[in-house]
């Protein structure tokens, strides 16, 4: 009890201190340094209308490679940790006829929508991460409706690795053509596409397609691992 009260007091003191420090920062002051540069140069340098996408994939593309890797580790880690205890689904009955038919009909549309999100990442809000997550929800729905459904592991697991390899490969092609790792050679050297059209923004759509496939397969893989329960746990 005393410990808890001490902890609360300690947190309050720290919170007061931080709040005090934050209060001295002038509100609404324009402190954008790189931010301004991005907004002013984004179109000519990257060819993307969506400035956020341009920052994520082009200017700070290396961080995104890192984030994709984090997700890859999460998926590999879950697979490694649940390796021996993937047994069986705990669901006792299948979904109803309506649920099954409905999810079967909806599946291609959801996947199409996911693909739309990541292909148009440089034009509209969205991109590879939400697009991939949308695709994974399509599989989640199938998993919920069908008791016996299982993804094709021979297809999904290699696909995860291959899309990661292609991301690194895109970076290496940039190095070979433009002279820098993750250099956008399509926009800056080949000058393909018009700003505002689907075919623009250099390698952003390519990378977002790779990320979309990667995120979709990885999240689906995680769903597959987690939805199965081991028999020992049940009893």
């Amino acid at each position: 009890m005393v410990k808890r009260i001490l902890a609360i007091i300690f947190i309050l003191v720290i919170g007061f201190w931080i709040a005090n420090a934050l209060a001295k920062v002038p509100f609404g002051e324009d402190k954008m340094l790189v931010g301004k540069y991005y907004l002013e140069n984004v179109k000519e340098q990257t060819g993307a209308i969506n400035a956020v996408t341009a920052v994520v994939v082009n200017y700070r593309g290396f961080d995104t490679l890192g984030e994709v890797t984090v997700l890859f580790i999460a998926s590999t880690g879950v697979a490694a940790l649940l390796w021996r205890r993937r047994e069986e689904r705990s669901a006792e009955v299948d979904g109803s006829l309506i649920l099954k038919t409905g999810s079967r009909v909806l599946l291609p549309f959801i996947m199409l929508f996911g693909a739309y999100i990541f292909i148009h990442g440089h034009l509209t809000p969205g991109g590879g991460f939400p697009g991939g997550a949308t695709i994974a929800t399509a599989f989640l729905m199938i998993y919920l409706a069908y008791k016996e459904y299982e993804i094709d592991h021979n297809l999904f697991e290699p696909l995860e690795g291959l899309s990661g390899v292609s991301y690194v490969a895109v970076g290496l092609i940039g190095l070979a053509i433009g002279g820098y790792f993750l250099f956008d050679w399509i926009w800056q050297i080949w000058e393909v596409g018009d700003i505002g059209r689907l075919l623009s923004a250099g390698f952003i759509p390519i990378i977002y397609t790779i990320i979309g496939i990667k995120v979709g397969t990885e999240l689906t893989g995680i769903i597959d691992r987690m939805i199965k329960e081991s028999k020992e746990v049940e009893g």
Binding site: I18, Y59, F62, G66, T76, L81, L162, V165, F181
Partner: protein, 517 residues
């Protein structure tokens, strides 16, 4: 090609890691692939170190030319992420490359009875990529991203033996500690970005004013990195993680711990380098934390019966030496005369101790893994009389134990001696604590040696034989390095340690990107 080394050093292990799952059940192929890739990475980091030593700091901007945004003051700022490789970064990169190679070689036979190994090797390569990114980057947010990569890969590997409850517990513990630490780092990065509008380390270090918000950022960064490098009082995750992780991962996991130590030094010396008054206080905090860490670590180690757990507590205790050495340097950082007189030597001792400790502690943990491999237990009371059966393991263990206790002519002596000598000039009491710790370390390893290797041969270990060749190769490489570093400390100090120390001291050079700005 040479100018692309910083990018390739990250791209090659990442590429290798993404390929590894394709091997699926062909575990031997996956192991050979991991050895190949980590060997290639080792060659690349050695080339990188050579470049940095001969040509000076390396700058690599991802996806564009050198710094592009020109400020009104004429100071050029990079818009994109960049790698800034100086002496200390390259120094840490060598450790990472070497240890992941040794770990991969060792794992080849150590883990033959396990399953799911393609995932194990994938995670090993990703852990390497994460450490390398952390130590090479010149961008604060990028540091956070690679910290995440290294810690998530590390925690998955700690829990890899998922049929053991203890391993899962250790994995979760490591994951929680790491996530708390990375969230605090992210918060600090947010504070700094909000104020200065940039994430570049060199730029931030030039702009920093040390207002209350910066103090909070320093506090958060210091705490989280100290937590991740296993300093007292946040050391509780170390014994669990080091004990439960498969022995082949111990070397890279050690380096990943010290990558956080590197980040701690980078933050104190470079990011907040120009703050003149308060850094002496931070230096004192670091030194005292160091003394506490070494003393508490070693006293906890004395009572352990589990051989790997005992060594893990020694790992905590040895981290204290590094904190003490570099902390003393930080205390006198802005006092030019004292810095030349003993500060630089103390820092050299601390930095040299990083690589020495990584080498001999990995060696010791690998021998512990070898003992576990043949006996199936880690309890010292159940072992005995193994010296005749496993001569090479025994000799490797003796080399490692002598090195960790600071007995000449092994490498531990070289760095500890530098630390004693320099710390004594700041405060004799600190040096005495360091020496007492060293004696206690020796006592504890004499106990391990006596109970595991000496004594009458036990009946149940009648059929025990020496461990397979790849494990021997890994141990012999490290034992040879222990002896070489101990016999020629001046060569190592001049070639890689002093350049690393000078890179930390000379933060003006870092701020100007090696003269680019």
């Amino acid at each position: 090609m040479i100018e692309h080394l910083p990018a390739l050093v990250i791209a090659i292990p990442l590429f290798g890691a993404f390929i590894t799952p394709l091997f699926r059940k062909r575990y031997n192929l996956a192991a050979l692939w991991a050895i190949l890739i980590s060997g290639l990475t080792l060659v690349l980091v050695l080339l990188l170190e050579y470049q940095v030593l001969t040509k000076g700091m390396m700058i690599y901007v991802f996806g564009a030319d050198k710094p592009t945004l020109v400020l009104p003051s004429g100071y050029r700022v990079p818009i994109r992420i960049m790698f800034q490789v100086d002496g200390i970064g390259a120094f840490m990169a060598i450790s990472a490359g070497l240890m992941s190679f040794v770990g991969a070689v060792y794992s080849y036979s150590h883990l033959q009875k396990e399953t799911g190994l393609e995932k194990y090797y994938t995670l090993l390569l990703l852990l390497t990529a994460g450490i390398l990114g952390m130590v090479l980057t010149g961008d604060l947010f990028n540091l956070f991203v690679f910290l995440e990569i290294a810690s998530i890969a590390g925690s998955a590997l700690v829990g890899f033996r998922n049929y053991r409850g203890e391993a899962s517990e250790a994995g979760i513990k490591y994951l929680i500690v790491s996530s708390v630490a990375s969230l605090m780092v992210l918060f600090a990065v947010g504070i700094l970005y909000g104020q200065y509008g940039h994430l570049n380390l060199a730029y931030l270090s030039k702009q920093i004013t040390f207002n209350p918000l910066d103090m909070i950022a320093l506090g958060l960064l210091f705490t989280s990195f100290a937590m991740k490098c296993g300093s007292v009082p946040m050391h509780y995750w170390v014994p669990d993680a080091y004990t439960e992780v498969p022995s082949g991962i111990n070397p890279p996991l050690l380096v990943s711990t010290y990558a956080s130590l590197y980040a701690l030094f980078r933050v104190s010396f470079t990011l907040f380098g120009k703050i003149t008054i308060d850094m002496a206080t931070v230096g004192w905090i670091m030194s005292i934390l160091g003394v506490l860490t070494m003393f508490i670590g070693v006293t906890m180690a004395l009572v352990q019966k589990d051989v790997k757990r005992l060594m893990s507590y020694h790992a905590i205790s040895q981290t204290g030496y590094m904190l003490l050495g570099v902390g003393v340097g930080l205390t006198v950082f802005h006092d030019k005369q004292a810095l030349i007189e003993f500060g630089r030597t103390a820092m050299a001792g601390g930095v040299f101790h990083i690589i020495n400790h990584i080498i001999y502690k990995s060696l010791l943990l690998l021998t512990a893994g070898a003992l576990f491999y043949v006996t199936g237990t880690r309890n010292l009371n159940e072992m005995g009389g193994l010296a005749r059966k496993m001569p090479i393991t025994t000799i490797s263990f003796m080399v490692g134990a002598a090195a960790i206790s600071g007995i000449p002519p092994f490498n531990g002596f070289a760095s500890k001696f530098l630390i004693y000598e320099a710390v004594y000039k700041l405060n004799p009491l600190l040096a005495i604590f360091a020496m007492v710790t060293s004696i206690l370390t020796l006592a504890s390893f004499v106990k391990v040696f006596a109970s595991a290797f000496l004594g009458p041969p036990l009946e149940k270990y009648e059929k025990v034989r020496e461990v397979p060749k790849p494990m021997i190769v890994a141990m012999v490489i490290l034992a040879a390095l222990c002896v070489l570093f101990g016999l020629f400390p001046d060569f190592v100090l001049d070639k890689i340690v002093y350049p690393a120390v000078d890179a930390l001291i000379n933060f003006i050079q870092y701020q100007s990107w090696g003269g680019l700005a």
